[in-house]
Amino acid sequence: MNQRQHEFMLEQKPVGYNVHTGSDVQSMLEVMGLHSIEQLFEDVPAKVRLRRELDIPPALSEWDLMRDVRAMADMNSTVLSHASFLGGGAYEHYIPSVVDAIVSRGEFLTAYTPYQPEMSQGLLQALFEFQLLVGRLLGQECVNCSVYDGATALAEACWMMCSASGKRRVIVAQAIWPEYQEVLSTYLEPRGVTIDYVAQHPVTGLACPAAVSVLVAGGDIAGVVLQSPNALGVIEDVAVMAEICKIHQALLCVCVNPLLCGWLEAPGKLGADIVVCEGQPLGLPLSAGGPYVGIIACAKPLERYLPGRLVGRVHDLNGKLGYALVKEDREQHVARDKATSHICSNQALNAIRVAIYLACLGEANFMRIAQANAANAALLCDLLTALPGVRLLRTGVHFNEFALELPMDAMQFSLRMRKLGIFAGVPVARSLAGHERGLLVAVTETKNRADIEAYARHAGACLDAS
């Protein structure tokens, strides 16, 4: 050990991200007339103090940490190691490199909520642009600055309908993602909201207007929930449901795959009062499940029921336009138990991702991607339904995902396909009990004709082997 090192060793070495040297600590304590940090903890009752070090694994250097986590990463298969046709609410899409290059910038990444608008104009503007672009995409005027994900967005939207109507009953077309059903229960049952599920049409897979109509006519309904494409991949008829709701003064909330709005008219323009979506398809990596971004868009009259933050254009004291968080009287830090929601941390950085993603693609490319999703799914669907024993489970029109009935157990089929390097799809049985032969297959713009034909070829082989 050399002299310089020796000198270092004499000092208390900070550990991890701690920054103080021993002499820093000493001089700071001296300013306060103290001799040890321990004195600052004298108000902690001795009987509950931890008298040992925490029992957690030893600290790792950066290099060892990378090795450790890389080893865990290698335990996961991915959509790079397999050709993935998985959907079910999260989709593999192409993400321009620009998105990552920008959101990794420290000014965005390490910022807090922009409560001080003068210091955060750029962040506020980026979030404003998210609201602006997403509002246009979904066809609604007001967009909040994100909630956790699609499922919680739907739950919050249901409560919005309850708050706005004063009623506590919601009708939900059955074919929403199973996770969304569970989250609706988690969020709404404690607050006394009743959820009535209405079955889809057994042939088309569409929600049944007649069934909904009967229920809504009851009069105690806050609103109706529709998912499009639904959990069977079928595109719902938003307009007809909107008409029914309008007649009976119920609200309509549509949960949409935002990419569908690049192909077909936006739900907001078809009469939905609230449009929610999982924003993951708009530039967010799959990340094994999150974080994603939940989006709620609504018509102006419902704005005061929106959960979470809103960025608006405001004037500074010289009359210059700028951006700030607005309408905070809805939020928990002001309204507390009367708030529209408890949400505080949201998904701001992912909202910025969405804004950059949409800006990168632009109008024409975004529409083309949407069309390509539809076209690619249609191609694979055609190829697969040409195989013996394979048929579409529901006849409605699909977007980028469709449910098949296979001549064999879907899980077993998937396992065979996996061995051939393909994630074949998500079992339908998770959303529709009793359909063990049902498989939900998603195809996005990430797949080319060769990928699609390879799927069909391998599927033929896997089915033959049964």
Partner: protein
């Protein structure tokens, strides 16, 4: 008086991206359903890639993060966000995995989950943990629903939750979302829970008392044992809001203080970046008796292999899609594995040291509201200011220091007549030099406040826009 150009005002140009130059449409586009027309226009911009990059680069430069300087916001724990953890989250093995892959192809996720659950249990003194909640408030909701399920299971309906008047707004809001009625417990003159009042309020209909300790006033509740005893004697449960856990890691554990349920803000205590407001993550941990009610899924190790466990019949169910913010939790894992036990304890010690050092150095200008040592944050009084705490804070902006937390500007709530107070949490990752610099700037602004009120009133002067006064 026009705002900055937004992305939609930029010059129409060749689209930034070119997804289709390689022709990705493999077959004819199908016909839309009969009942809905094709989309004709959206209103998205058509901007060149370089313009997109310049636009958002500029917006980032007009923002302020921990990477740019001190960010002493109270109860927000704006500590350094390690870059290595961002690199972990970007590893394709995690970033490119689909959540609905067969569970056995996500072994690395469950392995990380099991380890992180274990570390959180150890740090909080709890027995079981679920990583699914998306944020602190989400963890609160999960915890309260667990409490609700616990009493439901006993057919013991308790519709009331108590929260202190100084609680974060999320506490009463989460309680309301969990279907509870909120009752407010007053503070005593020392800024702590009024124990007498609490005892009176502990009626048989009380399910839980939610507490953050140290409180949002930066003070340790030194009657915590008495509080816990009183709560438990009433058959109620004690909830720990983990927002201020940064003061106590390795020193005292919520579980040992008598708390039954805890949530942790990994974007505070465990250094994951705030990202301008999120995403964070809010794991919830509980004592063994409550474990069956935790949300699903959790990860378990069976025969040495980490795996997902969905078979939990008493669970309150799902808090969100899939299984949690993997990319955020991975960063928290990286943080904890870098710090180790000694590092975490040191972090809390230094966080408290830094707060007290600032409190002492600032006391002649901004005396502490409660004249005693604080924990990781200090509540200072702006009563000696000629202008106001708000203008003082706005003037700090001109010196590149983010304002402390003020009433109405942040997610903290100051009870009673503390309208001129400011809450400062320096965190342990600020060096002594940084703290001394902050003191120097505070002094300069304090002097300006004394000698040039008009200057301070007009702050900030150095930014793109002047002060924004909102009437909401």
């Amino acid at each position: 008086t026009s705002p900055s150009q937004t992305i939609t005002d930029l010059h129409r140009a060749g689209a930034a991206s070119d997804v289709f130059s390689g022709s990705r449409v493999t077959s004819p586009i199908p016909s839309p359903p009969a009942f809905v027309r094709q989309r004709l226009a959206i209103g998205l911009p058509e901007v060149s890639e370089v313009d997109v990059v310049r636009h958002f680069t500029r917006l980032s430069q007009e923002s302020h993060g921990v990477d740019n300087g001190p960010y002493p916001l109270g109860s927000c724990t704006m500590k350094y966000n390690p870059k290595r953890n961002d690199a972990l989250a970007a590893l394709p093995g995690f970033a490119c995995a689909h959540p609905l892959q067969d569970a056995d192809t996500l072994g690395g996720v469950w392995e990380m989950y099991v380890r992180l659950q274990g570390m959180i249990c150890e740090i909080t003194g709890m027995d079981a943990c679920c990583l699914a909640p998306a944020a602190g408030a989400h963890g609160e909701l999960a915890g309260l629903l667990v409490i609700r399920a616990h009493f439901d299971r006993q057919n013991n309906r308790r519709p009331v939750v108590l929260v202190p008047d100084s609680a974060h707004g999320t506490n009463p809001a989460s309680a309301a979302m969990a279907g509870f009625e909120c009752r407010i417990v007053p503070s005593d003159l020392k800024g702590r829970v009024d124990l007498v009042a609490l005892r009176e309020m502990l009626t048989p209909d009380v399910a839980a008392f939610m507490l953050t300790n140290p409180s949002t006033l930066g003070l340790f509740e030194d009657q915590i044992v008495e509080i816990a005893d009183a709560v438990h004697a009433n058959g109620s449960l004690l909830y720990y809001d983990g927002a201020n856990l940064n003061a106590l890691m390795g020193i005292v554990r919520p579980g040992d203080m008598g708390f039954d349920v805890v949530h942790v803000n990994v974007h505070k205590t465990f250094s994951t970046p705030h990202g301008g407001g999120g995403p964070g993550a809010g794991p919830v941990a509980v004592k063994a008796a409550l474990a069956p009610y935790l949300p699903s899924p959790i990860a378990v190790r069976r025969d040495g292999v980490a795996q997902r466990d969905d078979d939990r019949p008493l669970s309150i169910g799902k808090m969100k899609s899939f299984h949690g913010h993997v990319a955020v939790l991975l960063r928290a894992y990286g943080y904890l594995r870098t710090m180790g036990a000694a590092g975490l304890r040191q972090a809390s010690e230094n966080a408290v040291l830094n707060a007290n050092y600032l409190q002492r150095r600032l006391s002649h200008m901004l005396p502490p509201v409660y004249a005693q040592f604080c924990k990781h944050e200090t509540l200072l009084s702006g009563e000696r200011l000629n202008t106001s705490a708000r203008q003082f804070a706005k003037r700090l902006i001109d010196y590149g220091i983010h304002p402390p937390t003020l009433v109405g500007a942040g997610c903290v709530y100051f009870p009673g007549d503390l309208k001129s107070a400011m809450l400062i949490e320096p965190t342990e990752t600020e060096t002594k030099a940084s703290l001394d610099y902050q003191v120097e700037i505070f002094q300069r602004v304090f002097d300006e406040d004394a000698t040039d009120e008009a200057l301070v009133e007009s702050a900030p002067l150095s930014r793109k826009i002047a002060r924004i006064d909102l009437k909401n």
